[in-house]
Amino acid sequence: MSESLNGKGLALIPRAEAKQTMKEFKSDQEVRWCPGCGDYAILAAVQSFMPELGIKRENTVFVSGIGCSSRFPYYLNTYGFHSIHGRAPAIATGLAASRPDLSVWVITGDGDALSIGGNHLIHSLRRNVNLNILLFNNRIYGLTKGQYSPTSEIGKITKSTPMGSLDKPFNPISLALGAEAGFVARTLDSDRKHLQSVLREAVAHRGTSLVEIYQNCNIFNDGAFEMMKDPETRDAITVRLEHGQPIVFADQAVRLARTGGVEVVPRASVREEEILVHDVHNPDPSLAFALSRLDEPAFAHVPIGIFRSVDRPSYDQLMNEQVAAATTQKGQGSLTDLLHGGDTWRIG
C-alpha cells in the first residue's frame, strides 16, 4: 500500500475491519456500455483499486452526472447517485461538506464536466471540497450519439457540425490550473497501472482532485487516443510526469523555454541540469500550466501523470472548523435561547 494512503485524503473516513475484495465492489447490475468501450477498463481499474484503500465500502459514494460515463456508479457496490447533467460536482459538494466521513467521488464526462457542468467544476476546484473527480474524456458526446464536445478538436465533423466544429477545445488541465486546482492529473483508460497510481495520489489529497482519463469511445470517436496507445507512436509523444524525476521520454527531454513555458528538446542536446525535474508540490502553478501546453498542437506531446498536488485546507474541513469553533466559543445552540434572544417583552 502506498504511503500516501496515509495522507489526509482518507484521514476522516472509517476504515474497514476486514480486507475487501474487488468482487465486493461490483454491484449486481449488468454493465451496459457498448462492447469495446474504454469505460469498461476504467471500471475494472477502479473496482480492483478500491479494496486497497481499506476504507469502509459503505462510506464510499460515487456521484455522477449524465452521459455514458455517468452510468458508472450503478456498477459499484457502494452508495451512488446518478444525478443530472453537469451537476454532480454541486451535489457532491453538499454531500462531502456535510459528511467528512465519506469518500466522495464524482464521475463525469467531457460534456458533463466541461460543457454544461463547467461552472460547477471550476468552482469546486477553487473551493477545494474533498472530492475525487474522474473526468472521462472521450472528446465526444457518447450518450446523445456523437455530437462534438468542448474537448473535440477544431474541425471535428459530427452530426451537429457537418462542416466541422469551429471552436477551440478546452485543455482540461490548463482550465483546472487556471481555476486554482490543488490536484490535477491525467491518465489513460488502457493503462491500468498508471491509472491506479494516479488514483492513489488523488485519494490521498484532501481537497478536490481532478483526474482526466482519456477514454476511447469506439462508437463515435474511435481511436481518439490511438497515438498514445500505438506502440509506433506512443513513446514519442507520451510524457510521463513523475514527482522528483527529470522529465524525459524516448530520447527527448523537457526544459524551460526562454520565452516562458517549456519546450521539448533532444535529450542529447541538453545538460542534465537543464532538464526539468518535476515537482508536483510547486506552490506556483505556472510550471504545471506550461507542461499542460505541451500538447499544443494536439498530440504534439501529451504529459500524463500528476501535474500538481498542492495541499491547502479543504472547504469541508474549514466549514466544519467554523461550526466547531462557533460551538466551542458560544456553546451548543439552544432553541429557547435563540427565540428569546432578541428584545422580548411579557404580556399577562
Binding site: Y79, F81, G94, K330, L339
Partner: protein, 614 residues
C-alpha cells in the same frame, strides 16, 4: 408648558427619506420601542430599487411604515396618519398615499432649491398652499441636530447624519414611547466610536426635548398597550422567523441543517441569518449559482442532513431541474421561494404571489410536490417546521412560498413553547427491508408511501439512486411501460395523501353566504377588511390556506357550502385556477398585481360588493 395628551386607539406612521437617511433603522427602533410598550403592531419596509440612486431623487426614497394599536391589528395599515418626510423627494413620493388631514413632519432644511428641483417642484410645497389639506409641521431637523451637537467632537457630516435620531426622539416623545432601550441600542451599535454614540444619543434626546419644550407640537398622543394573549413576545420579520423555523426544524428533526443558497433579494436575509447560527451545527453554503445551491442541498439530504435551499422567483426557475431530481429520487428537501414581482427580474424589492403555479408545475414530467405558504411574518416560523415535517416524513421536496411583504414586514410574535413544537425526527433505515436480505430503496411505507431513507455510512444498504425511472421496489433503472405508469401514480398518490389539517372557517355570524378565501401574505389585509365589513353589519366567512398542495381534505366541502367564494390574490388568479379545476366552483377572483399588499379598505369594498350582489 403643559401639553395636551390625546388618546388614540391606533396610529400609522411612515418614515420616509433618502436611502442614506437611515429610515429603515429609524423605523426599526420605533418599532422596538412600540413593541416594548406593548402595542400590537405591523410593519412594512419599502426599499428603493436595488441600487442607491443619487441622493434626493424619487427612486432613492426609502420608507418604513408602522401601524400600532391598543388592540390586535392585522396589517401595516393602508394610509399613514403621519408622514415623516426627510426631504422633498420623500414628500413627493408618498403624498398620494396620505389621506387628507394627516400629519406631515417635514425636514424643512432639505427643501432647498436644488433638492426641490431634483423632484420637479418649482416652489417649496411647504411654502405655498399645495399642502393645505394636511397638517404640516415644518421642522428644520438637520440644523436643529447640528446645533444640538455643536459641542461634540465630530464632523459636520456626522452631525447631520444624526438627524434621523433627532426625528426618532421627536416621534418617541409624540407617542410616549419608552426610550431607554433605544439609548442602549445606540450605545452598543456605536460602541467602537464613542463620539458618534454620544452624539446620536444627544440628537435623540434633543428630538425628544424639542417636542417636550417647544411649541411646535401642542398635543402628544397615548395609545394604550394592546390586550394580547399572555406570553412572551418579540418583534419578528418573516425572513427571521423563517430562519428560526428552519433552525427549530433541524433541532426537532435531530438532523443537521445544510443550506445551499445563492444571494437574491428578498431571500438573502435567510442565508445571512442562518449563517450566524453555526453552533446549531448549521452549515451554510453560498454556492456559485442557484443550481449549485439546490444541488448541494440535495447532496446533503442524500447524506442525511436537512437540506434546504432559499431563493426568490428567478432563482426558483433555475432550480427546477434539480427539484425534479429530488422528486424522482424521493429525498427530503425544502425549497424556500420568497416571491417577488416578476416576470423575469421584475421588481426585486416588491411583493407578489405569482409563483404558485410555477411551484406546482414548473418542472418537466409529472413532478408533484407539496406547497405550503405562511400567512403572516411570524407564521413563517411554524410553516418552516411544517415544511420540514412533510419533507422528512414523506421524503419529498417541499416548496415554501413566502413573499417580499412577509419577508421584510414584522409583527409581535408570541414565542412558542419549545415543548409544543412537533417531534419531526426520522428513523434512518439501517437494516434490510426484504426477505432475501437485500435492500429495496423504493419499497414504500404502506401508510405514507414514503420510501426508506438509508444514508451513506450504513453497512449493507449500499444502493444507487438517480434521475432515470426506477423499478418499483428495487429502484433499478426501468423502462417498463407499466412500471412507469405505476411510479408516476405512486409519486402523485404520495403527495395527494399527505396529512394536512382541515381548513378552518371563521364565521362569527354563523350564517354567512359569502366566503373570502386567501393564501399566503394576504391574510392580514383580508382579515382587516373583514373586520370592517363585519363591523358594518356584513356577514362573511373567512378561510385561509396554508397548504396549497395537497389541499386540506375538507376544502371542497367548504367551498361548496357558500353561495359565493371570493379569492383575492396578488396575481392573475393562480389559486383560483386550481380550485376551479379541481372543484368546478365558480370562484370570484380579485386580482391586483401592483407589487404591494392589498389595502384593507380596498378589499373591504370588494367584499361588500360581493355581498351586495347576492
Amino acid at each position: 408648558m403643559t401639553k395636551q395628551v390625546q388618546q388614540l386607539d391606533r396610529v400609522i406612521i411612515r418614515f420616509a427619506g433618502d436611502s442614506g437617511d437611515g429610515m429603515q433603522l429609524t423605523g426599526d427602533r420605533f418599532t422596538a420601542e412600540t413593541a416594548e410598550f406593548g402595542n400590537d403592531l405591523s410593519t412594512l419596509p419599502n426599499f428603493p430599487a436595488e441600487i442607491r440612486a443619487p441622493a434626493g431623487t424619487l427612486p432613492g426614497v426609502s420608507s418604513f411604515q408602522l401601524h400600532f394599536a391598543d388592540h390586535d391589528i392585522l396589517t401595516p395599515g393602508d394610509a399613514p396618519n403621519v408622514l415623516v418626510a426627510m426631504n422633498p423627494a420623500a414628500l413627493k413620493a408618498n403624498l398620494s398615499d396620505l389621506p387628507r388631514g394627516a400629519d406631515i413632519i417635514a425636514n424643512s432644511d432639505e427643501f432647498t432649491k436644488r433638492n426641490l428641483a431634483k423632484v420637479g417642484y418649482t416652489e417649496s410645497p411647504l411654502d405655498d398652499e399645495s399642502l393645505s389639506e394636511w397638517r404640516v409641521h415644518s421642522v428644520p431637523l438637520t440644523s436643529l441636530t447640528v446645533k444640538a451637537l455643536e459641542d461634540f467632537d465630530i464632523s459636520k457630516k456626522d452631525a447631520e447624519r444624526a438627524k434621523n435620531m433627532f426625528a426618532l426622539g421627536l416621534l418617541s416623545w409624540l407617542y410616549h414611547r419608552p426610550v431607554e432601550a433605544t439609548i442602549r441600542f445606540i450605545e452598543s451599535k456605536f460602541a467602537k466610536k464613542p463620539d458618534i454614540a454620544k452624539s446620536n444619543v444627544a440628537a435623540f434626546n434633543a428630538g425628544w426635548n424639542y417636542g417636550e419644550t417647544t411649541e411646535a407640537f401642542s398635543v402628544s398622543y397615548e395609545i394604550k398597550p394592546a390586550k394580547l394573549a399572555p406570553g412572551i413576545y418579540r418583534n419578528i420579520s418573516g425572513n427571521q422567523a423563517l430562519a428560526y423555523g428552519l433552525i427549530a426544524a433541524s433541532v426537532q428533526a435531530k438532523l443537521p441543517l445544510f443550506l445551499g443558497s445563492y444571494p437574491i433579494t428578498p431571500a438573502s436575509d435567510i442565508l445571512h441569518e442562518l449563517s450566524k447560527h453555526k453552533r446549531f451545527g448549521i452549515r451554510t453554503f453560498q454556492a456559485e449559482d442557484e443550481i449549485a445551491g439546490v444541488g448541494a442541498a440535495l447532496g446533503a439530504s442524500f447524506g442525511g442532513a436537512l437540506g434546504v435551499t432559499t431563493t426568490s422567483g428567478p432563482g426558483v426557475a433555475l432550480k427546477a431541474e434539480t427539484v425534479g431530481l429530488a422528486v424522482t429520487t424521493e429525498l427530503p428537501l425544502i425549497v424556500v421561494d420568497v416571491q417577488r414581482a416578476g416576470p423575469s427580474t421584475g421588481m426585486p424589492t416588491k411583493t407578489e404571489q405569482t409563483d404558485l403555479l410555477m411551484a406546482l408545475y414548473g418542472r418537466n414530467g409529472e413532478s408533484p410536490i407539496p406547497v405550503v405558504a405562511p400567512a403572516t411574518p411570524s407564521d413563517c416560523f411554524a410553516i418552516a417546521v411544517e415544511a420540514a415535517r412533510i419533507a422528512l416524513k414523506y421524503r419529498t421536496p417541499v416548496m415554501l412560498l413566502s413573499d417580499g411583504y412577509l419577508a421584510n414586514g414584522s409583527e409581535p410574535w408570541k414565542l412558542p413553547e419549545i415543548d409544543d413544537l412537533p417531534d419531526i425526527s426520522v428513523d434512518f433505515t439501517t437494516e434490510s427491508n426484504s426477505d432475501d436480505g437485500t435492500f429495496l430503496p423504493f419499497k414504500r411505507d404502506a401508510e405514507t408511501l414514503a420510501r426508506p431513507w438509508a444514508v451513506p455510512g450504513t453497512p449493507g444498504l449500499e444502493h444507487r439512486i438517480g434521475g432515470i425511472e426506477k423499478a418499483d421496489g428495487t429502484g433499478n433503472i426501468s423502462y417498463d411501460p407499466n412500471n412507469h405508469d405505476l411510479m408516476v401514480r405512486l409519486r402523485q398518490a404520495k403527495i395527494d395523501g399527505i396529512d394536512v389539517p382541515d381548513l378552518e372557517v371563521d364565521d362569527p355570524s354563523g350564517s354567512a353566504r359569502v366566503l373570502v378565501l386567501g393564501w399566503g401574505s394576504t391574510y392580514g389585509p383580508i382579515a382587516a377588511a373583514l373586520r370592517r365589513v363585519r363591523k358594518a353589519g356584513g356577514q362573511v366567512a373567512q378561510a385561509h390556506l396554508r397548504h396549497l398542495n395537497p389541499f386540506p381534505k375538507n376544502i371542497g366541502e367548504v367551498l361548496k357550502s357558500y353561495d359565493k367564494v371570493l379569492l383575492p390574490e396578488i396575481n392573475l388568479g393562480q389559486l383560483a385556477l386550481l380550485l376551479r379545476a379541481k372543484f368546478l366552483v365558480d370562484i370570484i377572483s380579485y386580482n391586483r398585481v401592483r407589487g404591494l399588499p392589498f389595502k384593507a379598505e380596498e378589499l373591504a369594498g370588494v367584499i361588500q360588493d360581493v355581498i351586495d350582489s347576492e
